[in-house]
């Protein structure tokens, strides 16, 4: 694959890489006969982003430059850091860079970015390819009941009211208004946190369709990143979402040359919001809490299973992690048709849940600080029952003595 990106579009590509860098640490690039896809997934697997650049985005596009036989499409995985290095300052890029050439040779182990700058300066970045697999998430964006098109500034202005320490936001969509709240972790001290709520009227948005009133909670970090992306490119943002637990899809596109999908896992807001009061609600959060959850749920699986099926957000219900830690994603047949009936969906999640239960290798430790805090905090809660965790060894003694 070889393609040329004209100077003006290099800025767009740079913005894209910067937005994706706020999501994940690895960048997947896939070249298809008529477009290039960039994808990333965050460590907790709760946020995914895909940006598609059509042929028309490029001044020159040759998918079959290295005349490969297979029509599969070239795929590669590179580290986000190296991609960021190539696009250091997207704001000034369009002024300095005249042309960018991207080359991907199936035989080579490097992805080549060649920046042709003003005054005949040529910068070439050889980026090591970590893997040649692609990754894809399944989500629906078309057949969802709730769609909002928002001018880029409205939501970022609204988020300006939140404290910088807030990490999740709850969005309550009704036909009358859209309410944004900071999500309160029940483990944090209520006496120290400001609860903020912003109510926006439907008239502020370009279009506003709520077919099914719902409340969803998702992370602010990625949300801010995608808002910044929409704002930088001066494009409106489309929100497509269903209900709690189903992924919310944010779309930014300019109609012709590129389309960006940002998918965030949503979770149920428990009751510790402005409206009501509870201290000890259980909460199934982002998937990075799966260690804790599986441990907790094992002893009384039968009773809890339906509940956790309701709550769990399985955004990436087909990822298996092989020994070498690279993400190998297979698109299993039934999952391809992503618009399943509710029953079918439950069954899939059921399978997936059992996978987690049976799995010998326990998924990686939670990365988020608040999660770590919450793991230990539970031991001090009044509802803590030591019997519930009896016999479950999350980490064995490393030293036999």
């Amino acid at each position: 694959m070889k393609c040329h990106v004209p100077g003006a579009n290099v800025k767009v590509l740079g913005r894209t890489v910067h937005a994706l860098a706020r999501f994940g640490d690895e960048l997947y690039l896939e070249s298809l006969p008529d477009c290039i896809l960039l994808r990333t997934l965050n460590a907790a697997e709760s946020a995914y982003a895909m940006v598609k650049f059509n042929k028309s985005f490029f001044s020159y596009f040759n998918y079959n430059y290295f005349s490969t036989e297979d029509n599969e499409g070239l795929k590669c995985k590179i580290s986000m850091k190296s991609a960021l290095n190539t696009f250091k300052s997207p704001t000034h890029m369009d002024k300095q860079v005249e042309n960018l050439e991207i080359k991907l040779d199936p035989e080579s182990c490097k992805l080549i970015f060649q920046l042709k700058c003003k005054h005949g300066i040529v910068k070439t970045h050889y980026i090591s390819i970590l893997d040649c697999k692609a990754m894809q998430a399944v989500y629906t964006k078309d057949l969802v009941p709730n769609r909002i098109t928002s001018p880029q500034r409205i939501l970022s202005e609204a988020l300006g009211n939140f404290q910088s320490s807030d990490d999740q936001v709850t969005l309550e969509a009704t036909t009358q208004s859209l309410v944004l709240r900071n999500y309160l972790d029940t483990n944090l001290d209520l006496l120290k946190i400001i609860r903020t709520q912003i109510s926006l009227k439907p008239a502020e948005f370009d279009s506003y369709t709520i077919g099914e009133e719902t409340t969803i909670t998702f992370t602010l970090k990625e949300f801010k990143a995608l808002l910044a992306f929409a704002e930088a490119l001066n494009l409106p943002l489309q929100l497509h979402f269903e209900t709690t637990g189903r992924p919310a899809v944010f779309i930014v596109h300019n109609g012709t040359t590129f389309e960006a999908h940002f998918v965030l896992a949503t979770s149920k807001a428990d009751n510790a919001t402005q409206a009501t009061s509870t201290q000890n609600t259980t909460r199934t959060k982002r998937k990075d809490s799966s260690v804790q959850d599986s441990a907790r749920k094992k002893p009384h699986l039968a009773t809890d299973i339906s509940k956790c099926l309701d709550e769990d957000s399985h955004l990436f219900n087909f990822i298996d992690i092989p020994e070498n830690n690279s993400i190998n994603v297979e698109n299993n047949g039934p999952f391809k048709s992503s618009v399943n009936g509710a029953a079918n969906q439950l069954e899939i999640e059921n399978n997936n849940l059992n996978d987690i239960m049976d799995c010998d290798n326990i998924p990686g430790s939670p990365t988020s600080k608040t999660m770590i805090k919450s793991v230990f905090k539970r031991c001090f809660e009044s509802t803590f029952d030591p019997r519930a965790i009896h016999g479950v060894v999350l980490a064995e003694n490393s030293d036999s003595e």
């Binding site: 400001i194 109510s199 926006l200 009227k201």
Partner: protein, 292 residues
Amino acid sequence: MKFRSVMIDAGPMREFANIVTTISKLSKECVLRIAEDKLYFIVSDDNNAPAPPILWCEIPQTMFFSEYQMVGLDDDHKDIYLGFGAANLARSLVTLKSAKSLKMKLTKKQCPCLTLEIEMPSSTSQQTRHVTHDIPVVVIPRKMWADFHEPKTPEPDISIELPPLKQLRTTIDRMRTMASEVVLRASAEGRLTLQIKTDMAKVSTRFKDLRVEAFGGPIDHSDSETETQVNEDTSRVCYCRVDTKKLSIFLSADQISHNRTVCSIVHKRLVILCLQTEENVKLQCFISGIVY
């Protein structure tokens, strides 16, 4: 206990946000005393809480609020005392500069909260949006009210009007990088001297022709190591050594549009800085002197 108030004018809202921001710089925690005619912000020393306040700010409610209703604890104790993080309030009020109105009330939502309802204009349409912040507060029990009474200060030996705070602030901020203590010296002739000493240098900045508001009579210098300037009558000069940092933080109050600031000095013991605005807000800061 009930409290409900509404602010609709842009000017007072901006002032209010500035005052709260200044207070949040001075201290982590602050106390809001709600009385019938005034709001008081009170800051005690962070380290030793039951000490006399170091900051005392009075805001007359009629100048700021278009609506103001409150019911105190009972008929004998008509006030409400609330404790909260000053930064929490300051950060919630950041958007107040562009707001249309602010409603402030005391609510109970899981815990006592000071609820701020800010009505913001939308940048894109005629619509307004409503932002609600619930700031958790602690209702201070009556037996602790005594800790937050207006401090009784000794009669100052001299009260002198300060030069423009911006000027003074740049001076102090320079001095702050060099020394942790500064000597404030005021004379009845309207001279104010700021002086620091380091191993390497002695730096002093003099302001003259300042208006002296009051002078309490001859100062007794008999026990001190005062250095005199040649032609100065020492009995008409008093001084106090204070923490540079504390002085500098107070001077950040120059954000509040004030019409005068007065510095009162109790010889060697206390500096009282008092800032007054057109709206009759009085912000007083008490900095105790350092004595060797």
